[in-house]
């Protein structure tokens, strides 16, 4: 049977015995005669051989199996442990090879060595290699639905931790650092491999699974106030403010300094109070919104005529860097340097301590995220017979629909680990069994299912139900209310439409949109609707004769029409500025709208 051979998608020739050919090429590859970067596949359906050596393919390593026996022997493993053999050696010796997605179609891969039959061509190095590194950090992940593992690994990527040891000399944007991070009690092998101890991202807490006064509805959690005061989930937020002395045409340059009083756009003296002589703030200054961090003046925008020869300070503009609305913190670090163009560059880092507050987001490693619903005094929290007060109360309603079994096992595992004083191995597919954990918990003097008799902290009464309590690794996520809280009563408006600005950064309003408008109309609340929409209310003088917009001179207190003169009746009409703008835009299209005035009553 003749098969066509394609190399990188191009036809190169025919082969008489495709299977023998493919096997031969693979044999040569394992011997090192052909590049190990090459993958070859026989596609039975179309009777084609596809050879790929191009870039951009995803490949993964597998142990080669011959006649149902793994080529990786215990001898190799011993050599590996003694550093007598490296990974590259294994590839060179044809023990491990990389397969791409297409060649995997020709392979039969066993998960475990015990499963090997003569049919198998490869053996998985570890079943853990089927998931990503982040996903393999989820303990007991093999007990979960795949969607929860996805959520779990996604959440871990947003966790606050210790991202780099040289953070003090770095100027990164939006840095969050968790104070007092810990290693998880229930770990997977990936924690060890990835040096997790060098950059941990969470803390071990005592979790009770129960409801509390309805404040942990809809995935919210209750947190112990004393725990927060002891430093639980405290973090630091760093943000740099950067400015440089820009050079302009004509030898003009920005100047970093304390601006003179006669500079255009000068703020009040109070705003510059933290600046030192060089125009830069001093470290450890406590700053609030509106405070100037780096003082700077810029040359005037447009130069014309004689101005060029009169570069007095009065024509310079103020262009300082200030804290925006709602920002606050402590000046942490000042850096003076120059950029690629040789301009003076000033970077100031602001530090802010973030203490957990209602609305901050937390998660366990199982996709069980939630925000703080209530911070409770330890006196009001439930306590166990041995006097343990939980740090976090997690709602039981989060469990059944999501079926995160690993969450529950981690609680038991964490409890055993903390009582026995050891780390628990929770690697997916290769973990300490649930049964063993239960037995150990029993031998440690606790109920084997992890429940405990608890008492109501407010009344002292014993709860009828036994409460499931355990230790878990909790992560603080980077979404904190302090970055998101927003409200507005009055505030800035847009220049063009005179309507409120949009977005938190601009202290904007919340839009009452088209559909919301419809609800007012449906209720017949005409006047309320008008009031809601009068954010851009204006009074426009209108000429009664021609119906066009007239001019009102506030200084001379006279009104006149540009076409009919001042001997006509001019009336002020209330309308939305957006409509006035619409009429102006129509005029720009050579359409002339006029207003016919009539008494309303």
């Amino acid at each position: 049977m003749t098969s066509e051979v394609y190399m990188n998608g191009k036809f190169v020739g025919n082969v008489d015995d495709p299977i023998a050919f493919v096997n031969q090429v693979r044999g040569e590859r394992r011997k090192g005669m052909v590049s190990n970067n090459l993958n070859i596949t026989y596609v039975q359906e179309s009777n084609e051989i596809k050879i790929e050596a191009s870039k951009g393919r995803v490949r993964r390593p597998l142990i080669i199996v011959k006649d149902g026996v793994s080529l990786l022997t215990p001898g190799h493993i011993k050599q590996l442990e003694n550093n007598e053999l490296t990974w590259d050696d294994l590839i060179k010796h044809g023990i491990i090879e990389y397969l791409d997605a297409l060649e995997e179609d020709n392979a039969l891969v066993a998960f475990f060595e015990e499963d090997l039959t003569s049919e198998h061509t490869h053996l998985e190095i570890s079943p853990l290699s089927m998931v990503s590194i982040t996903t393999s950090l989820v303990p007991y992940g093999n007990f979960n639905q795949s969607t929860r593992l996805n959520a779990g690994s996604k959440n871990q990527k947003q966790a606050l931790g210790f991202y780099a040891a040289n953070y003090l000399v770095r100027m990164d944007m939006d840095v969050n650092l968790l104070l007092n991070p810990q290693m998880p009690i229930v770990q997977s092998i990936t924690h060890e491999i990835s040096n997790y101890a060098k950059h941990p991202a969470g803390q071990n807490v005592v979790v009770a699974v129960m409801s509390y006064e309805g404040y942990n509805m809809e995935d919210s959690i209750i947190i112990n106030k004393a725990s927060i005061e002891r430093g639980l989930a405290r973090s630091i937020y760093y943000r740099p403010m950067i400015t440089e002395e820009l050079r302009y045409a004509g030898g003009l340059i920005d100047e970093i300094c304390v601006p003179d009083k006669d500079v255009k756009g000068y703020r009040s003296e109070k705003d510059y109070k933290y600046l030192e002589g060089d125009g830069i703030i001093y470290p450890e200054a406590l700053v609030k919104e509106g405070d100037v961090v780096i003082g700077k003046t810029s040359p005037p925008r447009f130069l014309s005529g004689m101005d060029e020869y009169n570069l007095a300070s009065s024509t310079r503009r103020e262009s300082s860097t200030t804290l925006k609305h709602g920002e606050q913190g402590v000046i942490d670090f000042v850096l003076l340097t120059e950029n690629e163009e040789g301009n003076k560059l000033v970077q100031v880092r602001i530090r802010e301590q973030r203490i957990p507050e209602v609305g901050d987001k937390f998660t366990s490693r199982h996709g069980q995220k939630g925000v703080i619903g209530l911070i409770v005094n330890p006196t009001d929290l439930p306590f166990s017979a041995s006097g343990i007060v939980p740090d976090i109360i997690f709602s039981p309603h989060g469990i059944p629909s999501r079926m995160t079994v690993s969450h529950l096992i981690e609680m038991v595992g964490g409890k055993v680990g903390s009582l026995a004083g050891r780390y628990i191995n929770g690697t997916s597919f290769d973990c300490e069994g649930e049964q063993a954990l239960r037995e150990e918990l029993l031998s440690l003097g606790f109920r084997e299912n992890g429940t405990e008799t608890m008492y109501n902290g407010q009344t002292g009464e014993k709860f009828h139900a036994r409460i499931f309590v355990g230790n878990m690794y909790y992560l603080k996520l980077k979404h904190m209310v302090a970055n998101k809280i927003h409200s507005r009563a009055r505030g800035p408006i847009q220049l063009l439409t005179r309507q409120p600005t949009e977005g938190r950064a601009k202290e904007g309003g919340l839009r009452l949109g088209e559909m919301e408008k419809d609800t007012f109309v449906a209720h017949g609340a005409a006047l309320l609707l008008k009031e809601r929409f009068n954010s851009d209310k204006t009074f426009v003088p209108v000429c009664e004769t021609c119906g066009s917009i007239a001019i009102k001179d506030e200084y001379k207190n006279i009104s006149y029409c540009p076409s009919c003169g001042d001997s006509v009746d001019i009336n002020e009409v209330e309308m939305s500025y957006a409509f006035k703008l619409l009429m102006d835009e129509l005029k720009s299209l050579c359409i002339y709208p006029t207003l016919k005035l009539k008494n309303k009553y």
């Binding site: 209720h523 017949g524 008008k530 309308m575 299209l589 709208p593």
Partner: protein, 382 residues
Amino acid sequence: MDPIIKEYKDKLPEKVLAEIEANIPARISQTKLREIMELTVVEYGRMKVEAGESVGLVSAESIGEPGTQMTLNTFHFAGVAEMNVTVGLPRIIEILDGRKEIKTPMMEIYLRKPYSSGKDIKQIAANIKETTLVDIIAEISITVSELVLEVTFNEAKLKEFSVTASSVAKLLQKSVGSFTITVDGLRLVLKPKTKDLKNLNELYRIKEKIKETFIAGIKGIKQVLPVKREEEFIVITAGSNLKDVLKLEFVDEERTTTNDVFEIASVLGVEAGRQALINEVFKVIENQGLNVDIRHIMLVADAMCAGGVIRGITRTGVVSEKSSVLARASFETPIKHVINASLIGEVDYLTSVVENVMINQPVPVGTGMAGLMVKPGSVEKK
């Protein structure tokens, strides 16, 4: 009917009167009955929509909101290929947009007495279905050397549709006049009359064309499916031709219907069209398990049919009828409307809702409708 009940004919609808009539005890005193009637009038008045209620917007919201929950699936008849029906949101959009060509036209043909119990149901269904030449032939070929077309019939099919080769030849003659057709048993030979038909492509074109020649049945009925519904047999069809179907003597013309509202309006009049519109929309909403008051749909249907023809709720339909320039411009293609208005110097009297929202004046619904007037001089000066 009781004379006292009759007296209220102008005050209450007939349906309510009939209900009272049916429910009052056989013996009832005059005063009691009058009391009942008076209370009914009060209650009925209370149920009426109040002046200034934004009925249109409430209808729009009441249909629009459940629309967000509808599925986009099409429904398939079990076992019959190519017999699917547009349902859900696409169907609602199709109806309310007033599309002339609907995606899946369908008929439900009810039958008269002997046939409704299943007599000759297969035969009837086959008679209704549109049959073209392809359906009854075994082969159609071109003899290149002689430049002739040859059609060979399928004998069984000929019998099934009760046509003969010669009758088909007559029909074909109408569509291809420039050919001489000779009948040879089950074969037809089509020979061009003029010799200048040298182009073979032309012959191919004719070949494809005559395949579509209408032979029997009713035009437009692409598929037929006899179904037993409750105790009687009906025929469901894909494709619709109400006018011709109603002419058939075995059809119950009172109940036979189509899902093409335009066809109903053109055959039976706009009032029937309005009712069809309501039925079709309501059917979809019911099918989706949603609950929308039928009065909302009636209002929309009324708005669509008010002009004597069915108009969709589009910029070319109902919306184009709005008197306000601003209202039209705020819907779709604003520039077109503003420019046209400026050409003829149109005046917007700001009588409706949208315009007043735009200029931020009280909208004339609900509390915005009422104004306070004082007669000059009626207030004493102090």
